[in-house]
């Protein structure tokens, strides 16, 4: 039995918004693989919960009328990995969330929960930053859309306005972000399953038509700071540069200008700085190959 003060079950998005306005102290629960564990630990014990888990309208991946990839916030990790739209346009997201926890966790865990937690280690977060995802929030005044970098305020805190009754309803990947773009994600952990990233790195590139020049390169990290972050110095090195081994060597150390990892029991700052460079290099190399480029 969980130590829950009260459970309110939302029947629709509008109902969820109304419940949130009615019970401003209540915690939203989606898949519950974090919230229920935190209740068990005592950290969130005795709280009121608003469950949105049964809202099937928030599940699934589609392409909307503006050609955004629209991922419903309750879409589970395993459904994202298996989804044909994801596999075609942003395969790296499916690969990244396929490294969360275990198969059972990937069946219950949702992309909305992964982002709303506001943790820097979330396996989806670096890829969503690197692809400039847009977060859709629905509240009493309708829909608000914000870039994911603005959604993350600080460790564990995201821009969801409880006083506006907001819940996250979707994550969008704009067409300009995914067209002709290919990426790669590396998670560094001590073991493969049931592990939280010591560092996560996600890179994607769009090459010129002749595949010899990098049109656009984006790189983001998880656990390189209190929130997921891009590495603009490294991106500046790569943007417009010719594809070459020299570029890889110039690009990867530039990330050190941007990242600011901490010492924790999982890994030291120095170690994270060290592997960040190598992960950037390998991710860029793999992204270029996936985009059809040849590094020689």
């Amino acid at each position: 039995m969980y130590d829950i003060k009260a459970l309110y079950e939302a029947q629709s998005v509008d109902h969820a918004v109304a419940l949130r306005l009615e019970h401003p102290e209540a915690q939203i629960i989606a898949g519950g693989s974090d919230v229920l564990v935190q209740i068990r630990e005592g950290r969130r014990a005795g709280k009121e919960l608003i469950s949105i888990y049964m809202l099937d309208e928030l599940r699934g991946v589609t392409i909307d009328e503006d050609k955004n990839i629209r991922i419903g916030s309750l879409t589970s990790f395993s459904h994202i990995t298996r989804d044909p739209i994801i596999q075609k346009h942003i395969n790296v997201l499916g690969e990244a969330v396929d490294q969360v926890g275990s198969p059972q966790i990937r069946n219950i865990g949702t992309i909305g929960g992964n982002t709303c937690n506001g943790v820097t280690s979330a396996d989806s977060a670096s890829t969503l930053h690197a692809w400039e995802a847009v977060v859709e929030l629905t509240g009493r005044n309708g829909v608000r859309r914000i870039p994911i970098k603005d959604f993350y305020i600080k460790a564990g805190v995201v821009d969801i306005r409880a006083d506006e009754g907001e819940i996250q309803t979707a994550i969008l990947i704009p067409e300009s972000s995914y067209t002709n773009t290919y990426g790669h994600y590396i998670k560094y952990g001590m073991r493969n399953a049931m592990e939280i990233a010591s560092l996560g790195c996600s890179v994607n590139v769009r090459l010129s038509d002749d595949k010899k020049t990098i049109d656009r390169c984006r790189i983001a990290y998880g656990v390189a700071g209190p929130v997921p972050m891009r590495a603009p110095s490294a991106e500046a090195v790569a943007n417009g540069s010719a594809v070459s081994p020299a570029l890889l060597d110039e690009f990867s150390p530039a990330v050190l200008n941007d990242i600011n990892p901490r010492n924790s029991w999982r890994a030291s700052r120095d170690f994270r700085m060290h592997i960040a460079v190598e992960m950037a290099k390998r991710c860029l190399c793999e992204s270029i190959k996936k985009a059809g480029g040849v590094i020689e």
């Binding site: 039995m1 829950i4 059972q104 219950i108 049931m194």
Partner: protein
């Protein structure tokens, strides 16, 4: 608000309903209301997989799944795998044949994940199979035998020769 709610669902092929405490996990409901004790209480935080059941064909750790979310769902536990007269299913028999059981505590959870894997009708590589089984802890550490039981049954169901 009411502490209790009537939950209608289908468990092991049978439509059932029962009044359930809204604070209950699905593990609590399956064990206490339906006496399905194959659903083990292990870590109770979604790490060990001992409480694993199939919900609409997908594997879930029932310890971190609210009982109220079972409304309208089809739930399969280990008890639902055996035939009407208690005949063992192929995957259960394979666990016996491969001695994939020591203390037995992780077995029901492992077998339900195996069932999800087998229902995919896919010939997985060894690496894929290991990843698919990675949500379970066996503290007797009998992983190799478990792996073999699942792999053999996968090959058998697909009518293929096994290559060990």
């Amino acid at each position: 608000m009411s502490r209790y709610k009537v939950i209608h669902c289908n468990i092991n092929g049978k439509d059932v309903e029962r009044s359930v405490d809204v604070r209950a996990s699905l593990t609590d409901m399956l064990r206490n209301e339906y006496h399905l004790t194959s659903v083990k209480k292990g870590c109770e935080v979604g790490e060990c997989g001992a409480c694993n059941v199939l919900i609409d064909g997908e594997a879930f750790n029932s310890c971190i799944y609210l009982a109220v979310w079972a409304e309208g769902k089809h739930i399969l536990t280990l008890e639902g795998l055996a035939g009407p007269n208690g005949e063992l299913s192929d995957i259960q028999q394979a666990f016996i044949d491969e001695t994939a059981i020591q203390c037995g505590f992780c077995t029901p959870g492992f077998i339900m994940t195996a069932e999800e894997i087998l229902q995919a009708n896919t010939l997985y590589t060894d690496d894929e199979l290991r990843k698919l089984l990675s949500g379970h802890l066996c503290r007797c550490t009998g992983y190799e035998n478990i792996f073999r039981a699942v792999k053999k049954t996968m090959y058998r169901r697909l009518g293929k020769e096994i290559d060990f």
